[in-house]
Symmetry: D2
Subunit: 345 residues, 4 copies
């Protein structure tokens, strides 16, 4: 940590900051400069109370060296964390899993058709919302528990692992009961009560980056789950909000190698939400694998033009099958491969 004093700070101000650093158990190191003094601090500054020092008279700013997340950091655990959400469906090393399915579970026919189609094309897990966060209270909000039961049915029929979103604590309990991996959506990335709850549940969690979350924020939210003793956290880039409305979101693929450098947790990419446009899903899924993603999430629907939500960004089954073929080629080009399940039931 470095405390930067104002050019008009008095000697007494500098002394007070040094005293406070000493009081907190660290060693202050004043560095007088041409126009101002800075004060370094020796020791593990993750434990320092910044707010207090920042508010002292004469302090211009506080520069923090230590990352504010700990257990999520690669310094804490140098080797990759591998999150296995179901037997053989592993994120974080080895073959790359593809997760696919409709935005929402709509009916038994729809979800079984979707599951069979994505299974046949090469997906190893099924995604589909039973609880849907929608900007408008008047939009379709999902089938709820019935949707979870249909997902469980699809798992029995196809062997696909199930990833589905929870929006509150009761929902998380239900998802934990019926599915393999609890998704926390972008809008709830900083719903700390929910993060702590899924931390305590101990089940694999797919944590999506919030619309305006920095990479640092994403890792801090993961830290909430890890701090409860649950290390089964998969992070997900799904686009952030910027000034350009040419695409629904701006898909920040650089976040993939950046997170992989900062953290040991697996980082996957969702090009469907990341772009919001069907025609962009295939090139950007290829790009995500080329950038090193530990998994891909894609929206696929048996009949996207009849989907109750997100129709415009959802692939047709044959488009998805072609996408998987292309992803296999890209994975091979970087010395990896796509994950596979045993031959279909």
């Amino acid at each position: 940590m470095l405390v930067v004093m104002s050019p008009r700070a008095l000697p007494a101000d500098i002394e007070r900051v040094c005293d406070e650093i000493t009081r907190q158990g660290f060693k202050p190191l004043p560095m007088p400069g041409a126009t101002r003094t800075a004060i370094g601090l020796l020791g593990d500054d993750a434990k320092v109370d910044w707010g207090y020092i920042e508010g002292l008279p004469g302090v211009a700013s506080v520069l923090i060296v230590q990352k504010p997340f700990r257990q999520a950091a690669r310094e804490w655990k140098p080797e990759n964390t591998v999150v296995e959400i179901a037997p053989g469906v592993r994120f974080g090393e080895g073959p790359i899993p593809v997760v696919a399915g409709p935005c929402s579970v709509e009916s038994e026919t729809q979800i079984l058709e979707a599951a069979r189609a994505v299974r046949a094309a090469g997906a190893v897990a099924l995604r589909g919302g039973a609880f849907k966060p929608r900007s408008s209270p008047y939009a379709f909000q999902g089938l709820g528990v019935r949707g979870l039961e249909l997902l469980a049915l699809a798992r029995r029929e196809t062997g696909l692992a199930i990833v589905t979103e929870a929006m509150d604590e009761r929902g998380a309990d239900l998802v934990a009961e019926h599915a393999d991996c609890i998704q926390i959506g972008a809008r709830n990335m900083q719903n700390y009560a929910l993060l702590k709850h899924v931390g305590r549940l101990g089940r694999p969690v797919l944590l999506k980056r919030g619309l305006s979350a920095t990479i640092n924020d994403l890792l801090l939210s993961a830290e909430y789950i890890l701090a409860e003793g649950n290390a089964n956290v998969i992070l997900c880039e799904r686009g952030v909000r910027t000034f350009d409305s040419a695409t629904r979101n701006m898909f920040d693929l650089t976040a993939i190698p950046v997170v992989q450098k900062l953290s040991h947790l697996p980082m996957v990419a969702d090009p469907s939400h990341g772009t919001g446009l069907r025609g962009m899903v295939t090139p950007m899924a290829r790009a995500a694998v080329a950038a090193g993603a530990d998994g891909i999430l894609v929206e696929v629907h048996p009949a996207p033009d009849q989907a109750l939500s997100d129709g415009a960004q959802t692939l047709f089954p044959d488009q998805f099958a072609e996408l998987v073929r292309q992803l296999r080629a890209i994975a091979a080009a970087i010395g990896r491969e796509l994950a596979t399940l045993p031959s279909p039931a």
Copy 2:
């Protein structure tokens, strides 16, 4: 609504869109142009299923005319909604209430001192967090229920109304029991489960704009509360996240007159979070009143340099007293005045 077809759309594509519009119970109005056709739609298009039409072949984009929120819109209710959180503490017309207090409730002494100081200076309500959403799981998380009890004590001692945040449903029930107005923080603005819950509680809600929420998003989140039958919603501008880190957030004061034009709900401003810098709170609070804010929220602490959170943006009591004096002058300049409580207990 206007459906814009691609320049390469076939006549059959156009016909299919028209058929679909008819099927949904509206009247299509094709408008052939030089390079492409657009199809208008007559009727109350808030009920149209956009997703479906957007996904049809040959559709380039769908332009929505109707605002997606209804009960929050001024069209729904032309006159201002007035939210009274406690006898005489009214937001939305007449005198402008000032809400002040520390970021967190820390102790009985601290909150009582803060309450007396802000009461003496002219505040009509006390703010202070018992449940604190913090980016880091290792930061101070608030006193919880004990904090709520201390706020209730401060109310008995000073007559100030109480505004405090809830982060989950259980917390909202507790806040409803001890306080006058339930605050929903920026990070939970799209926590729809929580919005529905406070909608059902029927108590006044202060809904803060999310870090990357558009004004439209804010009004849609308010709609979640209104749709449950609770019209006591106060909106709050508290800064959004942009590319410039010169201030903690970018304080979007234009949102005040824009929301007041679009909606009948009161819109207040929080210059403490809006700027994140103590030295900016006073000029920006003045600016907020000059822009027409229906209320002001300010962080004040008896000893900001010892605050457990947000110390750097918190006013000293004497700075707050001076701020209130300046706000009175600005309010008078635009033909308004600040709200007052009966003479102190």
Copy 3:
């Protein structure tokens, strides 16, 4: 400056950074921490070559303490700079000047009518574009030199000072010849060739903040002009680009007190471009004065609904007269007043 080493930096890496700091003429101060070492630097670090050090092996990041601008900084010159663009029209202290006029100069009748109307209402300077930067090459690009001559005519008729934009070096020479203050528009804020040129011309410059310029960027661009020996620089907040399209730009009024703290240069506000909506200009102009702006720029046209550009954000003359009345009241509330010219010619 603080050089933060990676947790995996070798002792030799640390040594190399120290050697390089010494080689550049400064004193290195290593600070070993719990997981990594940081290296402080004593002396005037504005002269250090960051790029080189940042690229050395084992360096994680470089934190810069010194602001990168010098002559624009308040440390360089503690008292306010006052820029007088014409006799009695002074920005930076005392009465607040209001600059008003149409987006573009369109004809002799139009500019003279506009000039007389804004003069009568209380403006002390006339704005109006002769050279117009337009996103589309097919939009009206301004009258050019003829526009400058009409502005000069309006000055003779009304006594108003003239502020008008230059888009290239030849244009700047022409503006310097006909007008009182050369405006550099948002799109050219980092056109360094143009900044240097107007620096050498020595005439007052109104420098508008770029659409995505940080406050730091704005001051660095001002530094380009100051570094050529021209201290007559007025800065201008005119809105930045963010994720919300509810208004044309996001009007960052906090930039006013922030710039005034960091720099001695005057900072004015343009609520017409800052909001892009006629109905928002008046409340946000009031807010700008309440926030401490050193001047206000407003678009006014004799007949906004016939304006060749920016009609939707332009005030009618009677709206402008009412605006000036309101600004007078706000200025009085903060102990200031609006600037005035001697009684009209």
Copy 4:
């Protein structure tokens, strides 16, 4: 175009808008809705004067259907434009060119070493700045004309085509004389005087996306060059500015397929500026090729840790050679290949 009237618009307001549309030579088509009327317009609405209609009484907003750029649009020219900057160095179809070289030309030794190294590794063009736009006036500004001469020397020695930036009109003339392709940097993307000038020069132009430019803005800036009769325009994604400072910029790779859909112009990617971090250049260059980029620009320096600018994002020659190997594999995976020059001189 669709003119959306306010819910409170009077019948006379609607009539006036219809009259104005008729007066401008188009046919108005009023569509009364549940709460408001919208008015469609038949014909080529690219020629309509929006500003005027937007400013009429009772108009809430104007939705524009037609894209505001013309010659840059795919509707104007369905097949890809191929820009050949030197014999065999073609952007827009066939083999993908890699352009590489240092941020700045620093000396004869440096640029010749760089040129030979990138030539040997597989680049077909050399980049390197002779005129450098720097945020600070005190930073290294480039060697100027001497830099251009050294680039021309490197071309003679290696056969590489030369791409280098111009910052003003005189500079553009010099670049046209010495180099093969004139680069317009991000900060000058809306320097319209410069765009028109390079349009008239008729030489190939590499136009970089501005820091906060939408894709629409980028295409409009290209339109300035095309409108002067110069169709040799290569567009370049190089990262935009957002709220996250984890990387220097946010690299918007989705812009590649989006531009290729909207326009016939080639679109290349610059992962060096797009990420600002050496360790991210290789994965993101791979991602750019996987997303369909028509070329790659990379910063390479014989000794990045001694570079006078951008050292931290510049590759070592051996890293670049490895990058080219990986790009070849990715290109092959999507059925393309990298461009090559005849065997080295």
